[in-house]
């Protein structure tokens, strides 16, 4: 098949600069929306996935496998686990076992609402930094027990609806009616921990008047003699009196991610519906573009080009415009949308414009070009050549 040269399609785009601009910008807006939806879904999923480490095992109360905040286990579990299960990861004589309390508490910071917003507050010991390897203190120091000090995640201000300055090191935050001083900023990029508040375990227990822990998180060792998940599960089973059970941290957060699947579906459906509007807009633009060139298309057939070759040229023309828009939108998304914080019930996460999101966006741009061409091309090429040549 004799095809039209690519430059013919490219040069046709320059015939009407206004139309080209509208096509490119229309495509860019639809693709930007798809990228925002993709970034939302990727950010939420990745945030929950990255919070759970496959090498970590959680011990929680039986019946609380779906919500750690409901879980209560004796405070002795951490030391019993350390003593009973050999092969857990250790460094410099410290076993990677972290007893924790996790509870949602009303927090008021800066000029926030007087009632405050619920934020996940985690009571921890210094071993928490060992088991949560994605966390580090970005600024300030570890909170000292008994000094009313807390660590605040980098995205906690998003969850609280205040500026980042309101949670600067040294500022005061009211948690459940009691003032705490921010001693440092916690960084856990791309995980929901980034929106949490950490404080010493003993302080949180004292503030919430509880004696029990919510969970114990332990990291499995590596190499010969390393403990496996089954060893920790066997330990939990052997202690009927403690009423505890074991699960991997990744499975817990995967279950949470599954819980938010309907939210992600709604985001995709919304983006799809708006994208459909974009397709109709594209159809209108391309129809107008091709309808004025019916005579030219008839002439091309007279010169010996087959209809399929002309359709291919029209597709190239349309896809070139929409792909340019998609590239513009991708660049805008990478520079302006990536990392933008969004709050949800579990805390907050940053939009993630990564390779899969970009592929979906670019795919949407190309699809826009394809779908926007087929119907107008059919309308223009279905006419007999003689009629096409006489068309005004």
């Amino acid at each position: 098949m004799q095809t039209l040269p690519f430059t013919y399609s490219a040069r046709n785009l320059g015939r009407s600069r206004l139309r080209l601009l509208l096509s490119v910008m229309g495509s860019a807006m639809v693709v930007l929306l798809v990228l925002a939806a993709g970034g939302f879904v990727r950010g939420m999923t990745t945030g929950l996935e990255r919070t759970g480490d496959e090498a970590n095992v959680m011990i929680v109360g039986i019946g609380s496998e779906e919500s750690i905040e409901r879980s209560e286990i004796p405070a002795s579990v951490a030391s019993l686990l350390d003593a009973s299960v050999p092969g857990l990861r250790t460094a410099f004589g410290t076993t990677f076992v972290s007893p924790e309390v996790q509870v949602q508490l009303p927090v008021v910071a800066g000029a926030g609402s007087p009632e405050g917003r619920l934020v996940l507050v985690r009571g921890v010991t210094p071993t928490a930094l060992l088991v949560h390897s994605q966390c580090q203190i970005a600024q300030g120091h570890w909170p000292r027990s008994g000094h009313n000090e807390i660590l605040v995640g980098q995205l906690a201000h998003t969850k609280l609806g205040v500026s980042a300055a309101a949670l600067a090191v040294g500022s005061t935050v009211n948690i459940d009616g009691r003032d705490w001083i921010v001693s440092g900023r916690l960084a856990a990029p791309r995980s929901v921990i980034d929106a949490e508040i950490w404080m010493p375990l003993a302080d949180l227990k004292e503030a919430t008047r509880r004696l029990t822990d919510s969970c114990v998180i332990a990291t499995l060792g590596t190499g010969p003699g390393a403990a496996e998940f089954a060893d920790v599960a066997a330990f939990a089973r052997q202690r009927l009196d403690l009423e505890i059970t074991a699960m991997t941290e990744s499975s817990y957060y995967a279950r949470l991610a599954g819980f938010f699947a309907p939210v992600r579906a709604v985001v995709w459906i919304t983006a799809g519906l708006i994208g459909l509007g974009g397709v109709f807009g594209g159809l209108n633009t391309m129809y107008a573009a091709f309808a004025s060139r019916v005579r030219e298309l008839g002439m091309l057939q007279c010169l010996g080009f087959r209809r399929s070759a002309i359709v291919l040229s029209m597709l190239q023309e349309s896809c070139l415009a929409t792909a340019s828009g998609a590239l513009l939108a991708s660049a805008a998304a990478v520079f302006f949308l990536d990392g933008v914080a969004v709050q949800f019930s579990m805390g907050a996460f940053g939009l993630l414009i990564d390779a899969p999101a970009l592929l979906v966006g670019l795919g949407a741009g190309l699809l826009l070009g394809l779908l926007g061409t087929i119907a107008p091309a059919y309308r223009c090429l279905k006419l007999p050549i003689s009629e096409s040549l006489k068309s005004i």
């Binding site: 090498a55 590596t222 089954a230 990744s250 990564d354």
Partner: protein
């Protein structure tokens, strides 16, 4: 020239997307070999005599006692520990959720979820088959020779731990009621 520019743009997009996809995901544990089923030598051909009910036996048991217990496998959604020879046995007198409760459509009646947790614990014992190191054998029990949730099992063994409600029996023989 235009084609060259298009190709360069495409290459740049592909390069940028692949650069963005570098993984700094949490660590993954190393893959491990498949675990074998429990050897047949642990299974008894005939039911041992004088088997005791768990709830009654727990009152007097102490570590080191030889014991024959009878009960049903259950007490939780998954009464077996994956890849370890260990399970929970519940007193026969306890009724599972499909036996007389209003939860007869329960998909996992052996978890006794219709009863309080304290009652389940008081009527349960842990059964394990240990190796020379005293740790539970790396073996699969679920589905082997009739071992399954809700199966009635007689266990012959020695009490390894008896502290309050926590009773652990090191089994040397198992008889599964057909």
């Amino acid at each position: 020239m235009f084609r060259t520019a298009t190709l360069l743009t495409l290459a740049a997009v592909l390069a940028s997307t692949s650069a963005c996809s570098k993984s700094d995901a949490p660590t993954k544990p190393a893959a491990k070999a498949a675990v074998a089923p429990l050897p047949g030598s642990y299974f008894l051909a005939e039911a041992p005599a004088d088997a005791k009910d768990i709830r009654a036996a727990k009152r007097s048991l102490k570590a080191g006692d030889k014991v024959v217990l009878i009960g049903r496998i259950g007490g939780s959604e998954d009464p077996f520990v994956p890849e370890r020879a260990i399970f929970t046995l519940v007193d026969k007198a306890m009724k599972t959720c499909d036996e007389g409760s209003d939860m007869d459509t329960c998909k996992t009646p052996w978890d006794y979820c219709c009863d309080p947790r304290e009652q389940i614990t008081a009527n349960s014992a842990v059964v394990q088959i240990v190796g020379p190191d005293g740790q539970p054998l790396k073996a699969v029990l679920n589905g082997v020779k009739g071992l399954k949730p809700q199966a009635t099992v007689t266990v012959v063994g020695t009490v390894s731990k008896a502290e309050g409600q926590n009773v652990v029996v090191n089994a040397t023989g198992l008889f599964v009621k057909p």
